[in-house]
Subunit: 364 residues, 2 copies
């Protein structure tokens, strides 16, 4: 049974309604908890989003983030209507260990993008945010300059019990923002568990932010992350770090020679920046534009977009059929028995599989 989202008052009845839209206009940092809304129809949402009305955008995202069945259906109808207006942004993923300076980088880079005429939205995927709670104020402080820009929109991680749930909400939020005219969407992740792979699967361009220092172990990043990145940024190339940054750059340049390309036909690059001193930021922008031009002209860009869509389709289908199977109570009973029997060498794997499948399909 899906839980009611916290922001709907107890006994709010069947209507998706409460008092007034207020206090969200001109606020770039928007939390679902702060939203009050009057009854809006799908058409109201649709035109509000297309017009770029921030209050309505924020509310639509809250509906996407809601765990109630009713909001799920509302969100899906809305998205279905918006689909033709989506897909036109550049989607950027940014990861890096805590302390590498992701927020400062996004603050500086995002502001640079705005000065260059872009409309920028920042989303976060943080599978641990349900533990830390209320990262909203955190985000405000973290991206001081960007959060004051009118062209910017910053949204903290949706809460969710699974990364899959958070991923769905983020993907659908991207669609809302694209339909609203944001042309650059930055998705930040702190890289817990599989979150980097999840973010990679929804972006065009993936950035790994590293500290001057030696090797991944010291960086606190998971091995394998480097292979996801189209550009490695050695940040904090300032103060006492200058030599260290240069050295780290050369080490990673060597390392990427041995690992898999993140994007077909694109050799990943290493760049040094100082987000605090505004150093290397325009180089990152140039590199990103090169990347986009290159991948668009080779058709890799569209190929990846299409395969991301189909992967998303298939992974959703498969998550659902698996969860239907594993939620079957007879399957559950047998499965836990078989697991220990398999490990103790009492039953063969295929015998267990055969019996489990029989159980499941005769139940259906």
């Amino acid at each position: 049974m899906p839980k009611k989202p916290e922001w709907i008052p107890e006994n709010s009845g069947d209507e998706f309604s409460s008092s007034t839209i207020e206090g969200v206009l001109n606020k770039n940092i928007t939390s679902s908890k702060k939203i009050k809304s009057k009854s809006l129809t799908i058409d109201d949402y649709y035109s509000g989003i297309i017009d770029g009305n921030r209050a309505i955008i924020a509310q639509a995202i809250s509906i996407i983030e809601s765990n109630s069945d009713k909001h799920y259906l509302l969100a899906q109808s809305l998205l279905q209507k918006l689909i033709p207006s989506t897909g036109k942004s550049i989607r950027i993923g940014i990861t890096g260990a805590p302390g590498a300076g992701k927020s400062t980088f996004i603050d500086t880079f995002g502001s640079f993008l705005i000065k260059n005429g872009h409309k920028v939205a920042v989303l976060a995927i943080d599978p641990s945010s349900s533990l830390s709670k209320g990262s909203i104020l955190g985000d405000k402080t973290r991206m001081e300059v960007l959060s004051r820009e009118n062209g910017a929109f910053i949204r903290p991680s949706p809460s969710g019990s699974t990364l899959g749930g958070v991923a769905r909400k983020t993907r659908e939020t991207i669609l809302i923002l694209e339909a609203s005219g944001f042309d650059t969407i930055i998705i930040e992740t702190i890289g817990v568990g599989q979150s980097e792979i999840t973010v990679r699967s929804m972006v065009d361009f993936f950035v790994l932010i590293l500290l001057p220092g030696e090797g991944d172990e010291l960086q606190g990043i998971k091995k394998g992350t480097v292979e996801l990145a189209d550009v490695l940024i050695i940040n904090k190339d300032d103060g006492d770090n200058l030599n260290n940054a240069k050295f780290t750059k050369s080490q990673y340049e060597l390392a990427i020679h041995y690992i898999q390309q993140a994007t077909e036909g694109w050799n990943s690059k290493v760049i040094t920046t100082s987000a605090i001193e505004n150093k290397g930021i325009s180089e990152v922008y140039d590199l990103m534009n090169q990347f986009i031009e290159h991948t668009k002209s080779s058709n890799i860009f569209d190929k990846r977009r299409n395969s991301q869509l189909l992967n998303w389709l298939y992974s959703n289908i498969e998550d659902r059929i698996k969860s239907h199977f594993y939620n079957d109570s007879e399957v559950q009973n047998k499965l836990s028995k078989f697991e220990s029997e398999i490990i103790q060498g009492q039953i063969s794997v295929m015998a267990a599989v055969d019996e489990l499948l029989n159980t499941y399909f005769t139940n259906k």
Copy 2:
């Protein structure tokens, strides 16, 4: 409808029978196509395998490799009976690009193992073997010394239309061989598609054989393969290659510093060998023993074995429920329609998912 395996004569009736057991005793290279068998009961198979009767072992493997339903059931009952006698070998995976000298290495290393009192079986996973056909003679020539050893057993790749099918047959063949007393099982793969990952998922110790030279591109190995290996062997450290081998060794030693450990708590090693000159072979043996001792004492060995078993269980379950879903004809029709609608931006992914799942579960 599963096809009858080629080695069963047309109109062979319902009995699993033909003329006599012949021509397989004392032959280490055994092909299912050459086998003639009289009717054997499960008990005959069981005791023959436990006694190490090579003719019966070869026949049992042929039953596992058969694609008929009847043989599937026979094989599964037999395996269920054998399970308590399995699991006691060391399972070694060996990969490398064509030309790196895998066969020569296995020939030399396998013979070394036999001289040190081991009983060695060599299996191959070659997803492309159904194309090249008849690799049996090939294997015989490829491993000249080993194929003459009484303690050795060499079996070419089972044929199969999917890597999953080949993987099941190989896993089950490992069980038969373990029950027969082989204490070292070597699984060779040429590394087409996902086959290296598949082999990694069924072995304790994984070896990548490389040529003296520079970088993975020149080696013709897929990037990412290095991360699977517990030991990298720079083979052909002989003749004009001596300096080159040393250089390649140092390059890979640097590279593995940046990539994921294949085995928790074990830093992958790089060794130079010359299989032709019998150089470095005992070092590989020592290293393997170190690895086994280390992983057994830290319990990583058993942990991996158990998780391999459970992964095998879950991946089989999921393959089957997915194939049940994707074989549904209504699902198939809608899916191909939705795929193009999604790419053309006419339907949202979640709307497609919802409708497909509805279709499927109301059919059940």
